[in-house]
Amino acid sequence: MSFNLAEYYSNLSKGDVVLAYKGSITSDLINDILEGVEKRLEDADEDGKLRKKIYNVLVESLQNLFHHIETIHEGIEEPLDPKFGILVVVKDGDLYKVTTGNFINVKRIKFLKEKIDKINSLSKDELKDMYKFILNHQRLSAKGGGGLGLVDIARKSGNKLEYDFYQYNDDYYFFNLTISV
């Protein structure tokens, strides 16, 4: 059976939900989410160090969506907002889980999968070296992305990136990325 967006979203939004959003990922929305989560974490009296890590991971996750999600989704039979993406933050025991989801063209999967697998295979020191290498050697793309977002997320969270690609149709998959902080 092909990927069911409604079912996916409702499964994701179970448990102690800090925030759940689906729709257009715009600059203003990013402001609102960051402000909201920051306040929630302060109210929950979380440790300052953890708050910063979560905030950093959120910024990079949202901006990854902002820079990379596709504006239009041809052949997807869902009433999607332009620049459609999903963000859910759930508290799971001592951990915060940040999940992003977006449709991705089948052509882009290989590159993304290899990048994440590579990041997941590296130790803390190797990640630091990779970060510094990209920082010093790669130009910013026109989109504003620098290829550093996922590396930074892995460094800050200290955990492996969990991901899945769910098939939607011949051209599109749904990309799920979960980061535990």
Binding site: L34, G48, V59, K128, L135, G146, L148
Partner: protein
């Protein structure tokens, strides 16, 4: 020359230059989606400043957060400072980080290992 003076916003830091004291200060959050656009005025200003810099320039960087898009622009800023330092003008970068913020300290050390300018890591205690 024209001084640079930008106020902070929720996503961008304040940037101020004090000519009398020779202090450039970058302070706040740097998480814009389009960091190239934001940092261009500073990079341009530094290029101009490099033509006739003060004997000594102190650069205070006090960032609460910065995104990876900004990290490249901050490196560009530091490279401009490195060029000034190379031309026999003193530059010191004071990298501030909040107490226990190891990630921010480490970020400063990453830059220190790339840029040939003296860095001072300064812990800010509440």
């Amino acid at each position: 020359m024209e001084a640079i003076n930008l106020d902070s916003t929720p996503k961008t830091p304040s940037i101020k230059f004090n000519q009398e004291e020779g202090v450039l200060e970058i302070k706040g959050r740097s998480i814009p989606e389009n960091s190239i656009e934001f940092y261009k005025p500073l990079v341009d200003w530094l290029e101009d400043y490099a033509k006739n810099p003060l004997k000594k320039t102190l650069v205070n960087v006090q960032l609460e957060y910065f995104n990876t898009s900004s990290s490249k622009c901050i490196l560009d800023v530091f490279k401009k400072l490195e060029a000034i330092h190379k031309s026999k003008h003193d530059i010191v970068i004071n990298w501030y980080y909040e107490e226990d913020d190891e990630d921010m300290l480490e970020a400063g050390e990453d830059y220190e290992s790339i840029i040939r300018v003296p860095f001072k890591m300064i812990e800010v205690v509440d």
